[in-house]
């Protein structure tokens, strides 16, 4: 197992290098460069002045030189500066954006899991009951409702319609992050609980919008997977030897039924780190998805590189972790 892990980790190095080359090339080869817009804004800029600016931003060198410069700095932990924010790309991505994304997407993922597994189990155990039909219906609604529509709908409902029509109904925030700083808590201006409450208040709608799709999806998977396991011979054996239904269900069936869910969750985690561009856009939430999107549009290469290379690393890493987790969940799987 240890040798296997080390081997997999070593294999990741060329993979990540290749990924970084591809990402860098795709970024640099997209039409236009970061200074194009400037030229349109300032007609009086001369060719020489423009070249001087290109030099200042290192855009005058050929692609491969720029890549190796970037790589040699990146392996030393220097991911360069964000051209549009002026701060180190690493600080922007890992300090400002990643924690906020982890909070939003992490909560959404947890909520989706916490709801989907019991509901899926319930639905499978009571197959073809009224409750099962209701859950199936709802999960198809959740499945087919695009997040951009659900988001706007939630906003309109909870920030305008309900407060307008029901006196005393709280008006939900229309997005963004709360106007409280962590420094306020440290200086004692506000209490920790108030700070937490403000964040929770701002996160309710985006978390619901973001989790609905996965919740629906995983409920269906959980239900299907458990039903399949419940029809296996060893379940019949377990029942035949007189085990209680509880033990059959939770000890024999559920553990096996969870294996495909582990795969799904493992694959979903890099997605969590990558943020949810659409949800973040609708709720004006400053997370990774927006950061990557904006960086691509504004040709902020260092930021896009830092974020995308990080995602490549995380995808590779979580694939490995999911593989290792199989071994834990399923005793039949052994790596050597």
């Amino acid at each position: 197992m240890f040798a296997y892990t080390v081997r997999r980790l070593l294999q990741m190095i060329p993979l990540l290098l290749a990924a970084s080359v591809v990402i860098y090339a795709l970024l640099a080869l997209q039409p236009g460069d970061p200074l194009d817009e400037l030229r349109r804004q300032n007609p009086r800029i001369t060719a020489e002045q423009f070249e001087a600016l290109k030099r200042a931003y290192g855009l005058d060198q050929p692609l491969h030189i720029r890549y190796f410069k970037w790589l040699s700095r990146a392996v030393q932990g220097d991911l360069g500066y964000s051209r549009t924010y002026g701060i180190p790309a690493a600080e922007y991505i890992f300090v400002q954006r990643l924690p906020k994304t982890l909070l939003l997407s992490g909560l959404a993922l947890t909520l989706a899991l916490v709801v989907a597994i019991p509901v899926g189990v319930f639905s499978a155990v009571r197959q073809y009951s009224l409750a099962d039909y209701a859950i199936t219906f709802l999960s198809f609604v959740g499945f087919s409702m695009p997040v951009f529509f659900l988001g706007i709908l939630l906003l309109y409902l909870f920030a305008i319609w309900l407060p307008d029509h029901i006196p005393g109904f709280p008006r939900f925030p229309t997005g963004g992050v709360p106007g409280v700083l962590w420094e306020d808590v440290r200086s004692g201006a506000i209490s920790f609980w108030y700070f937490l409450g403000q964040w929770a208040w701002h996160l309710i709608l985006p978390v619901i919008a973001l989790s609905s799709l996965q919740m629906a999806e995983w409920t269906r998977f959980m239900r299907a997977s458990l039903l399949e396991v419940l029809s296996q011979d060893y379940i019949r054996t377990a029942r035949a030897k007189g085990l209680s239904e509880r033990v059959v269900l939770y000890k024999h069936a559920l553990r096996n039924a969870l294996i495909p869910i582990v795969t799904l969750v493992g694959l979903a985690i890099p997605g969590v780190l990558g943020g949810a561009t659409i949800t973040e856009t609708i709720f004006s939430y400053p997370g990774m998805g927006r950061a990557i999107f904006d960086a691509l549009v504004e040709k902020d290469y260092n930021v896009a590189m830092a974020a995308l290379a990080f995602l490549a690393l995380m995808t590779a890493l979580f694939n490995l972790l999911a593989d290792l987790a199989y071994a834990v969940v399923d005793p039949r799987i052994r790596y050597s």
Binding site: Q30, P31, G32, D36, E37, L38, R40, Q41, N42, P43, R44, I45, T46, A47, Q49, F50, A52, L53, R55, A56, Y57, G58, Y81, T84, Y85, G86, I87, Q96, K100, I152, L155, Y156, A159, I160, P163, R171, P173, T174, G175, G176, V177, P178, G179, V180, L181, E183, D184, S187, G188, A189, I190, Q198, T281, I282, F283, S284, Y285, P286, R290
Partner: protein, 622 residues
């Protein structure tokens, strides 16, 4: 003390909900963009976002302001330099070049928010930083021409060489707090010693950026790293949420009736998604919108307009963004010769066939008026009496018949050129994904079909069509017909968009291989009289004479039609009833944002006196 802080913080979060406006004499402005940096980045080296310039109007007062009527007025300077008061001198320096000197005096009561006086040392400091070797300024043309002569602590002269008339618009120079930023700058200078502006351009850039950042990030500003000189000072910046500014008692200009009658606190609320911003406006938590906020269509949406009466005014301020169709006129392109695009009659015929009045009525309720030249009607140089091309298919057909075009069997015009029969099928390029432009394209394609012109749509994302190897390459026939996009019609108009040659600098403005594809005259128009008139006009410091030169240049332009003018875009603003002097015009403050007179903004119910009427500068939905 702790309790006070607590109340302050609770107050801000409450603002995010519904309580705002006249109740506590504050102003909440909604914006869809958040500045990356503020204040310390005084040369806009790190960021030149419009939201940054807009907010900085509250934090820093210019020496000379530019009001909604496009006139200079003194703010922190005692007087506007004019030839009449002897503070403005123009001299000939030979070779057709001029030299401009402007004497300025800083108000004796001008102070930073920490109480320190604003002096010529601060102007000198600004000048020194801007002139530093390898400083990646975005307006190098300005920095190459400007010079400074300091007389004493309050008097100085700004010199431009060569000088152009627009150097007299607004402040000729800025200033920055030397007592705050100076020590750090000395360190940067020491580190930059020995670096070469060519070889070490990247290193210098990084040094300079780090310097500005120390006084510009939310963290630095919340720590109090910066001082301010405007009517407001920054109190708190919560990234992703808001910026709160409070009145700066050291600001020397007091509005009518005393500053207590005007807003005491200005909060910029950032809601990136404009649909969510619209929800917030409807919900009532926003008093006014910024210049970077709702889209034109959102401001006309029924959800908003039906709730507006008695609550909001919705203004559409005609701006300086000029939507137009450029045309390839390079004779070396076969398509151009075949279609006769290099002949003004073809261009006139096309313009007669485009129902522009119908377009602005159908799509914009007439709130974005049809343009007749490339100069915005709010620009003092605008000539309203140029030739106008009304929608007239008969005239269009007659002009085309004159050029030998006849309807072919498929209803499309054709003619014989050099023994070949050519069809009138014209390429129409614009930015893919821009819904308004794509709708416009469909609308015009229908119009053109009526006179027998087939349109071949060839759209691509803006990054593709605006890339150097596309837009700048009409000379190599990369695009061969019509190209719809927008220019900003500059207040500092110099005719550069349509000059073949700038006679003052000698630069060729038509992008070809010979000049490394530089220049904005992308369609390749050449009219020597236009070049002469516009080149002469920028050296003319007498406004009447300058106007006459530009008036003639616009007549030539409208006759020759190097490009087809469509309309000027309007910027929408939603303003709560009772808020006064929150007024924008196309060039107010230089860029056309509200807030150029921040100290006069207030609520009528709180005793603020209305000095500026937005209705004078804008259209409104009926």
């Amino acid at each position: 003390m702790q309790k006070v802080g607590k109340l302050a913080v609770l107050g801000i979060t409450a603002l995010g909900l519904a309580l705002a406006g006249p109740q506590d004499n504050s102003l909440v402005i909604g914006a869809s963009q958040e500045p990356r940096v503020l204040a310390g980045d005084f040369l806009s080296v790190i960021s030149n976002q419009s939201i940054k310039s807009e907010i900085e109007q509250y934090l820093f007062a210019p020496l000379i302001g530019f009001n909604a009527n496009s006139e200079n007025f003194p703010v922190l300077a005692t007087q506007v330099p004019t030839q009449q008061n002897g503070r403005l001198r123009v001299t000939d320096i030979g070779g057709g070049k001029k030299r401009l000197e402007m004497d300025l005096t800083i108000r004796p009561d001008a102070r930073w928010s920490d109480g320190k006086p604003i002096t010529t040392e601060d102007v000198q400091f600004y000048f020194e930083v801007g002139k530093a070797k390898g400083m990646p300024v975005l307006n190098p043309d300005y920095w190459e021409r400007v010079n400074l002569r300091v007389k004493d602590a309050r008097n100085f002269t700004v010199i431009f060489e060569p000088a152009y008339y627009y150097d007299t618009y607004g402040s000729p120079i800025g200033y920055a707090p030397k007592h705050i930023m100076g020590p750090e700058w000395e360190k940067v200078k020491a580190a930059a010693r020995g670096l070469d502006s060519d070889k070490d351009a990247e290193k210098l850039n990084e040094l300079y950026r780090n310097f500005f950042l120390k006084f510009a990030t939310p963290q630095a500003l919340n720590r109090g790293a910066m001082v301010y000189s405007g009517p407001f000072k920054l109190k708190r910046w919560v990234p992703g949420n808001s910026i709160e500014m409070e009145r700066n008692p050291n600001f020397p200009i007091k509005p009518e009736g005393g500053e207590s009658k005007y807003v005491q606190k200005v909060v910029y609320r950032f809601i990136q998604n404009t649909n969510s911003l619209l929800v917030a406006v409807i919900g009532g938590s926003i008093d006014a919108t910024s210049s970077v906020s709702l889209t034109f269509d959102q401001a006309r949406s029924k959800q908003l307009t039906s709730r507006a009466p008695g609550r909001f005014d919705i203004w559409f301020v005609p701006g300086a963004i000029w939507e137009h169709i450029d045309i390839n006129k390079f004779e070396n392109c076969q398509t151009v010769r075949d279609l006769g695009l290099n002949d003004k009659r073809t261009r006139q015929a096309i313009l007669h066939a485009l129902n522009r009045e119908g377009l602005v009525k159908a799509f914009f309720d007439g709130l974005q008026p049809v343009a007749h030249t490339w100069i915005a009607p709010v620009n003092p140089l605008f000539n309203p009496n140029v030739k106008k091309y009304e929608f007239d298919l008969k005239k269009a057909e007659a002009l085309l018949a004159e050029m030998g075009w006849r309807k072919g069997p498929d209803g499309i015009l054709q003619r014989t050129v050099g023994g070949r029969t050519v069809r009138f099928e014209i390429e129409y390029v614009t930015t893919a994904g821009n819904a308004i432009r794509e709708r416009t394209q469909q609308f015009f394609a229908e119009d053109l079909k009526k006179i027998g012109i087939a349109v071949k749509i060839n759209n691509a994302p803006s990054a593709v069509v605006f890339a150097d190897d596309y837009i700048q390459r009409a000379s190599e026939c990369k695009w061969t017909g019509m190209f719809e996009f927008a220019w900003v019609s500059n207040l500092q108009e110099d005719g550069g968009l349509f000059q073949y040659k700038n006679l003052n600098t000698g630069a060729i403005m038509v992008p070809t291989k010979e000049n490394n594809y530089q220049g904005q005259n992308i369609g390749g128009w050449r009219n020597d009289e236009f070049d002469r008139l516009t080149s002469q006009a920028v050296l003319e410091f007498d406004e009447a004479k300058r106007k006459a030169l530009f008036a003639r240049a616009q007549e030539i332009w409208a006759e020759e039609l190097p490009a087809l003018p469509l309309y000027f875009r309007a910027n929408p603003y939603v303003v709560r009833k009772g808020l006064v002097n929150y007024v924008a015009s196309a060039y107010s403050g230089g860029y056309g944002y509200p807030g150029w007179n921040a100290w006069e903004i207030g609520w009528e119910s709180r005793g603020a006196v209305k000095k500026w009427d937005q209705a004078k500068y804008a259209l409104s939905v009926k």
